[in-house]
Symmetry: C2
Subunit: 304 residues, 2 copies
């Protein structure tokens, strides 16, 4: 059972116990372009207490650099090396885990941020934002000449998704390939994402047509997959026993923290509602701690 935090003493104990604080962003720090009240104060408080603050997001439409722009715009202090996005982690996975040879390429279903991170990691790619592939014109297989250098397909949220991209990706993933089977990666598998007034289909919905047509699942990089944490581990020195993951989604954030041996704190400012964690249909993913909003943490200062 989760511990419900409510008193100043509860929050003070939490602040004492954890040195590294990993935050999901949307639904925890902000909703779209609207800050969650008190979030900035709590991040400042953590920094004053010399806590290590990291931002761990499945948003693969932005590179870390452009995601930092979002923090700046909302007035939230953040540094590029504190930001871990699934686009960055996917690029690192391709360059450092798969070790894709330099003469090979990735076919991209995704947006500018994913392309930026691939470019920064020295990974060649095609597709993505190329206007030739961002079209609803009919796709004719007879006119398609596959690039023999393509050895991986990476799929993230792509709001310019269309049949040409899906067909090309499907061809790369099924064509006989001298270099062995084409890698199939997804930045993340979120079913939806919060888009201001409501939810829209997420990155997992964008790769779903390929999964269905292929009967094969991609390697998923973002939360809850361990790959994202491996990526953080390679860059940041942290003690899992003194690290807490704060998020609004049970099946991404909380599962991610648990899989990595971290403590987990669920906030109720995002996707997860009270009914998802209590009552007869409660999820079997149980966070260590629950609080209504990240803003509650500043009660911990009064509790000192």
């Amino acid at each position: 059972m989760s511990a419900r935090l409510s008193s100043a003493t509860d929050y003070a104990a939490l602040l004492d116990k954890y040195d590294t604080w990993m935050f999901d962003c949307d639904g925890v720090l902000w909703h779209g372009d609207r800050l969650i009240e008190g979030a900035v104060d709590v991040l400042s408080l953590l920094r004053r207490q010399k806590k290590k603050v990291l931002f761990v997001t499945n948003n693969a439409t932005k590179s870390r650099k452009s995601y930092k722009g979002k923090f700046d715009q909302l007035g939230v202090e953040a540094h590029v090396d504190e930001i871990y996005g699934s686009a960055y982690a996917a690029a690192v996975y391709i360059s450092s885990v798969i070790k894709l040879p330099k003469d090979k390429k990735v076919y991209v279903i995704g947006m500018k941020g994913l392309e930026e991170e691939l470019r920064d990691e020295g990974v060649s790619f095609l597709g993505g934002t190329d206007p030739a592939d961002c079209t609803v014109a009919p796709f004719d297989l007879a006119d398609f000449t596959p690039d023999p250098a393509v050895a991986a397909v990476v799929c993230g949220l792509d709001t310019a998704i269309n049949y040409t991209k899906l067909s090309k990706a499907f061809q790369y993933l099924t064509l006989p390939n001298a270099a062995g089977r084409c890698h199939f990666l997804a930045t993340n598998e979120d079913s939806t994402y919060p888009a201001g007034a409501g939810l829209l289909p997420g990155a997992g919905a964008i790769s779903a047509p390929l999964r269905y047509a292929l009967g094969r699942d991609p390697v998923s990089i973002g939360k809850p997959a361990r790959t994202m944490l491996d990526c953080i581990k390679a860059k940041v020195d942290y003690d899992p026993a003194r690290t807490i993951m704060v998020g609004d989604r049970l099946n991404t954030d909380i599962l991610f923290g648990q899989a990595g041996g971290l403590a987990t704190l669920l906030v109720l400012t995002g996707i997860t509602t009270e009914a998802d964690i209590t009552g007869p249909n409660a999820s079997n993913i149980v966070p260590d701690f629950v609080t209504s909003s990240i803003a509650d943490l500043h009660l911990g200062v009064a509790g000192k």
Copy 2:
């Protein structure tokens, strides 16, 4: 175990035994725009023998009328009332089974043929081929005013699929709706379809993003679902014991025939290969009869 047909006597017995012959088209009668050798002769033979001939296709991109154009172009005799497509069956399902009130509308992910069949059944719709929805421009939820008359989403193969259509369909399927939950239909769930030189993602891949984002499956109309046969049954008088379904796909055609209590004949001119029906990885869907091509049937005349 399936009976392998090979001798003139085998084919003559089959011709004697069945009065109604239901045919899948692509992979059985033709490949894309290329007729399978001997198919026309066999269909003529069946007609000379006073057999009832029906064409049962999951292709939802064409209405029956335009599908008849395809038969004409290839020189295959067919009449509109012999053609049963999943677009037609979906339209009939909406008008006659759901009995969608006349003031309600369907949001369409699909192509011209699906729209034609809906129009013929008197079903109002939006989306589909509307240029406003056939775009890769960004979709902004704030600019979207849902039509309160939408009470169903129908999803077929749509080679102009894009994020605007997926987002609108997702909104209709999740919005609180005074008329009760919005119906979610798929013309069919084929994972791929044969497109000349190879396979491309099929109608099932087009509805996959919605299934994934919603965590909910559509009512599927086409083969192997019973809905298609119910639609045929409403129009054609046939004796299941003397009816045979001929197809190239185990998980659509053969399953469809079996579910409807029909005999089944698998041809190996399409998707299914010898390895799919024999050996260690053979499918557990076992047709009654197997032959290499529909053309083999005219051996049955010699066998008489």
